[in-house]
Amino acid sequence: MKAWLGLSVTLIIVVAAAGAPWIAAHDPLLADFAAGLKPPGTPGHPLGTDQLGRDLLARVLYGARLALFIGACTVIVTGIVGGLLGLLAGFVERWPSAVVMRIADVQLSFPFILLALTINAIVGLGLRNIILSLSAAGWVVYARVVRGEVLSVKQRDYVHAAAALGVGRARLLFRHVLPNVAPSIVVVASLQFSQFVVAEAAISFLGFGVQPPTPAWGSMLSESRDFLYVAWWLAAFPGLALALTALGVNLLGDWLRDTFDPKLRV
C-alpha cells in the first residue's frame, strides 16, 4: 500500500517533469503583462498566472524538472563521495577511518540546512553551486552508514575466504565488500533525496541557490510572499508540488528500507 502510493506519486512527478514541454501550453519564462495574476481556472491557464502573466502550470512543471535534476545530481555526488570515503574508512581503519569520522563529527555539529546555506552563500549562487553546497553538507550520512556496514561485512566468512585465497585488497573491496554494502547506499540515497530537494527549495526560498526567473519551486514561493493577499495560488501550487515530491520519495524510501535494511537508521 505504502509502496504503491509512493511509487505512483513519484511516477506522476517524474512523468510531469519529463513531459513538461508537452503538458504545458506555455513557455515558463514568457511574460504576458496583460494576463497578470489570473486565478486558477482561467482559460488557457489551468493553475492561473503569476504577477508577470507567466503560466503557473508551466512554471510548476519546469520546476519539477529542476528539483528532480538537483536531487538526482546531489544524491549521485554524495553517494559516490560519501560511499568511497565510507568504504575507505571501514576497510582500512586506522588513520583514514579516524580522519573521515572526525570530519563527519564536525559536519554533524552544524544543522544540515544551516551548513548548506552558509556554504552556498560563500561559493555563490546558481545551479552548479547549489548542487555543490548540498553535496558538501550531505555526504557525511553515506560515509557513516557505509563505514558501519563495511565493518560488519568484512568480518563475514566469504570475505575471509576470498582473502585466504589470495585475492588482492582492491578486488576484495570492490568485488566482495561493495556489492554487499550497495543496498544500504541505495536506501540512504532514497531517504536523502527528498531532504535534498526540500533543502534546495528552502535555500532558494531564502534568496540563495537558484535565482529567478528560473522556475524553481523555492524561488517561486519566495516571490509569492509579496502577492499572498491577492494571489494564493502562487504560494499553494509550487509548495504542493514540493510536498507531493517529498511524500512520494519518502514513502518509496521507507519501503526500500523495510525491504532491504530494516535496521538502518538515517
Binding site: R102, D105, V106, Q107, S109, F110, P111, F112, I113, L114, L117, T118, I119, A121, I122, V123, S194, V198, A201, A202, F205, L206, G207, F208, L221, S224, R225, L228, Y229, W232, A235, A236, G239, L240, L242, A243, L244, A246, L247, N250, L251
Partner: protein
C-alpha cells in the same frame, strides 16, 4: 560513569575546536576573503587598505591563531552593517530563538508523544492508521510552505493571528506550530516504534499474565522502559530545531538567531555569520553531549561502549 563523562567531554572539546576551524576554513579558503568582508559600497582603491586593516596580508597560520584566540573569548569582530560587536548581536537574538524552540518543543511533547503512545497501544486500529497518515504527511510538508499557507488562512483570510513579528502570545502560535510540525511527526513515529518494541518484551507479557490492569501495564511497565529511546532520539532531533529556526524565523519575521544568520548572509556581513554559525554549532554540540550523558545515566549499558 566518570570515565564515560570525561571521554565524551574531551570529544566535545575537540569537535568544537574543529568546528571553529571549519568555520574559519569555509570563509578563508574559498577565494579572496576581502570580497566577503568588504562593505558593498567600497571603492576599488580602498580594497588594499581594507585587506591590510583586517589582517588578510598576514600568513594564514597567523590569521588562524588570531581567529581562534579571539573566538574562544567570544570576539568575532564587529558587524559590518551594525558597526557593533558581532557576538553581542548573536547573544541578543538568543532569547527569541529559545522562546520559539521551547514553545515548539512543548507543543511536540504535548501532541506527538501521546499520539505515538496511543498509536502503538491501539496498533492497526483506525486511530493508528490516521496517526500514520498524519505523521507521514507532516514529514513530507516543507515547513516554509506550511508557514505561508498558515499565514494565508489565519492572518490574511481569518485575521485571527498576526503575519509576523514578536510581541504578544498570538505572535508565537504560527511559528511554533510550523517549527513543531516536522519535529512532531518524527517524534510521534519514534515514540510509536519505541513503545511497540517494549510491548513485545517478556516483562510486559509477565505483567499482563499477572493480571495487572492495562493502564498499569502501559503506564508503568511499558512507558518507563520506552522512555530511554524516546528521550535520546527526541533530544538528538531537538538540535534540528535550530536548523528549522533559520527558515521559520525568516518567514515570520521572528527576531531570533536564525533570521539574524540569514540576514547576515544576505548582507554579506561575515563577522556576524561566523559568530552565529560558530555559536549555533557549539550549542548543537553541547545539546548532543547533554543527550549522550542523559542516555548514559538512564541506561548503564551505554557507558561501557
Amino acid at each position: 560513569m566518570r570515565r564515560y563523562l570525561l571521554a565524551r567531554l574531551a570529544q566535545t572539546v575537540l569537535v568544537v575546536f574543529l568546528s571553529l576551524t571549519a568555520v574559519f576554513g569555509m570563509v578563508r579558503l574559498t577565494g579572496d576573503p576581502v570580497l566577503l568582508f568588504m562593505p558593498m559600497d567600497i571603492q576599488a582603491k580602498d580594497v588594499e587598505e581594507f585587506r591590510e586593516r583586517l589582517g588578510f596580508n598576514d600568513p594564514l597560520a597567523v590569521q588562524y591563531t588570531r581567529f581562534l584566540a579571539a573566538a574562544v573569548r567570544g570576539d568575532f569582530g564587529d558587524s559590518l552593517r551594525y558597526r557593533r560587536d558581532a557576538f553581542g548581536l548573536v547573544l541578543e537574538r538568543l532569547p527569541a530563538t529559545l522562546l520559539l524552540a521551547g514553545a515548539a518543543l512543548g507543543l511536540t511533547l504535548v501532541v506527538a508523544v501521546p499520539l505515538g503512545v496511543l498509536s502503538a497501544v491501539r496498533r492497526d486500529t483506525a486511530f493508528d492508521h490516521v496517526g500514520t497518515v498524519v505523521t507521514v504527511l507532516g514529514q513530507a510538508t516543507p515547513g516554509f510552505w506550511l508557514g505561508l499557507m498558515l499565514i494565508y488562512v489565519f492572518a490574511v483570510q481569518l485575521r485571527w493571528l498576526p503575519t509576523g513579528g514578536m510581541g504578544t502570545a498570538a505572535h508565537v502560535v504560527m511559528p511554533a506550530v510550523v517549527l513543531a510540525a516536522f519535529y512532531s511527526a518524527r517524534v510521534a513515529r519514534l515514540t510509536r516504534s519505541a513503545v511497540l518494541d517494549t510491548l513485545g518484551e517478556d516483562y510486559v507479557l509477565t505483567a499482563r499474565a499477572k493480571g495487572l490492569a492495562e493502564t498499569r501495564v502501559i503506564g508503568k511497565h511499558t512507558l518507563r522502559n520506552s522512555a530511554i529511546p524516546i528521550v535520546t532520539l527526541a533530544g538528538l532531533e531537538a538540535g534540528q530545531l535550530l536548523g528549522g529556526a533559520v527558515v521559520t524565523e525568516t518567514i515570520f519575521a521572528w527576531p531570533g538567531l536564525g533570521r539574524l544568520t540569514v540576514q547576515a548572509l544576505l548582507n554579506r556581513d561575515f563577522p556576524v555569520v561566523m559568530a552565529a554559525v560558530s555559536f549555533t554549532s557549539i550549542v548543537y554540540t553541547l545539546m548532543n553531549l547533554l543527550v549522550d550523558v542523559a542516555y548514559g545515566w538512564l541506561d548503564p549499558r551505554v557507558r561501557k561502549t
